[in-house]
Amino acid sequence: MLESLLALGGLVLLRDSVEWEGRSLLKALIKKSALCGEQVHILSCEVSEEEFREGFDSYINSRLVYHDLFRDPLNWSKTGEAYPGGPLGALRAMCRRTDPGPVTIALDSLSWLLLHLPCTTLCQTLHTLSHQDSCPGDSSPVGQVRVLGLLHEELHGPGPVGALSSLAQTEVTLGGAMGQASAHILCRRPRQCPTHQTHWFSILPDFSLVLQEGPPLELKANPYPHTSPVDASSHLTFNLHLSKKEREARDSLTLPFQFSSEKQQALLHSGPGQATSHIFYEPDAYDDLDQEDPDDDLDI
């Protein structure tokens, strides 16, 4: 996967989100480039040098050239350590490189640059940066330039994101499901149809990448990734299903409200003992037999 991302050159756009951060993939790509013997320039606006170099071994760290826009990007501290010309000056200084051979430039992140520079200026600078190898005015033969740009998608409107993605040769959109990260890769090769691919991967502590199977399809559709499906019928206090015998017994039962012909007969023809029944009443000695009409006061 990393090889295919790095194969094309030009601008590789990594689009990440708050939940699926893309810096580890960026660092995995940087490691891969450095292991190929390339010089890697890093323009870092969001994390400190220590934090960025953390996890790389000494060989890779020796291949990295760190351009610090983190400590004092806007020259507030006035210590003289800030880049002359601000972020744009730093980018332009990278354009004027002299060393031959292929170079990787990592921009961490394009979002920071996009918030501080006009979109058109940034796009033009990125274009010159990624097309240095075909620059006709330059006499010295310089190798291929690859630009890796990290973009936090939520921070920008569709306009700037669209402009940047039209500049990019390769676009990686990070996502995931069930705790598993995925990368959707869109490759635009010249004179070919763009290709789409999706990879599931995880990144190890030393920033090497391992491809994964990806979660099964029915789980991908689960909109609540952190709830495991629970079998609701496992702890019931009653039967959900009947056996054949139980079903027959239930069907043969006559319910009390069902009016059948036997019931009708039983009601119409009263039994022999019932016709001659009498009520005997013997008043008790203490029975209060009131002669007056109890409803007299109602005046009916």
């Binding site: 708050v18 969001e46 400590r71 979002s111 501080h116 921070l155 990144i203 190890l204 502590p205 952190h226």
Partner: protein, 266 residues
């Protein structure tokens, strides 16, 4: 300081992490209990705290602090706490000579530029000093809250720049911590606030998001807290970094329980 929250975050005042940005965020509820938690937590952890309080008065935070077992007055007197009371000092901006720098200088400017004076105030407040009397553990910046700066006319990028510089100074240079609260307007279309919230989310190491219940107000469950760990110390294959709990705020503590497991329901 709420012990239950410490347990969820796997931390304690005597082993507080350093160099971290914690983003507090509230949506459809009031997340100020989180601010009070972190204020008392870092005071108990013996850290030097700079508190930029733009929402409430000093006495309000002091009363809440006393319930949680810290005295802000004492902390301020012994130099542990530097308190910027936004409600009071915003008036001072208009009654002092213009030449004197004021942290809330932007209130006076017609086209609000940047928050550099506020950043310089924070840097001054947390600058390590060479006195043998009190040695504080690490500096901490606490902001309640950043959304107010947007309401006062600052742009989201200016507020992000302010936090960027605070992070570079406090988290990286001085190995301290930054904790900031931002409101989430939800579906109300507030673009600036969304940029601020998302920009900070990308920079932060830990996001605590207090949300009101989707089903509305409830007497026994006051809301739910989502905990999202970003930038783990090692990017492992396993990413079990997001947790959700429901909570109930009590007089002096907050109790947390798993979703749907409120003692009142069971």
């Amino acid at each position: 300081m709420f012990t239950e929250l410490n347990n969820l975050l796997n931390t304690a005042p005597d082993r507080a992490e350093q160099g971290k940005l914690t983003l507090l965020c509230d949506a459809k509820t009031d997340g100020s209990f989180l601010v009070n938690h972190f204020l008392s937590f870092y005071l108990k952890a013996n850290c030097k705290v700079c508190f930029v309080a733009l929402i409430q008065s000093f006495s309000h935070y002091n009363i809440v602090g006393q319930k949680l077992g810290v005295s802000l007055t004492t902390a301020r007197e012994c130099g542990q706490l530097v308190f910027l009371e936004g409600l009071k000092s915003s008036v001072d901006v208009f009654f002092q000579a213009q030449e004197e720098p004021h942290p809330l200088q932007f209130l006076r400017e017609t086209n609000a530029g940047n928050l550099q004076p506020l950043y310089e105030f924070v840097r001054e407040a947390l600058k390590p000093v060479d006195n043998r009397g009190a040695a504080w553990r690490c500096p901490v910046l606490l902001v309640d809250d950043l959304s107010v700066l947007l309401s006062l006319g600052m742009g989201a990028v200016a507020v992000l720049d302010f936090i960027h510089y605070c992070r570079a100074t406090v988290c990286w240079e001085l190995k301290g911590n930054v904790v900031a609260l931002v409101h989430d307007s939800g579906d109300a279309e507030d673009e600036e606030n969304d940029i601020l919230l998302n920009g900070l989310s990308h920079q932060s190491h830990l996001i605590l998001r207090a949300e009101g219940l989707a089903t509305g107000f409830c007497r026994d469950v006051h809301g739910q807290l989502r905990i999202l760990w970003r930038r783990p110390s090692q990017p492992t294959a396993q990413r079990d970094q997001s947790l959700t709990y429901q909570y109930k705020i009590q007089d002096k503590s907050v109790s947390f329980f798993a979703k749907g497991m409120s003692p009142a329901v069971l």
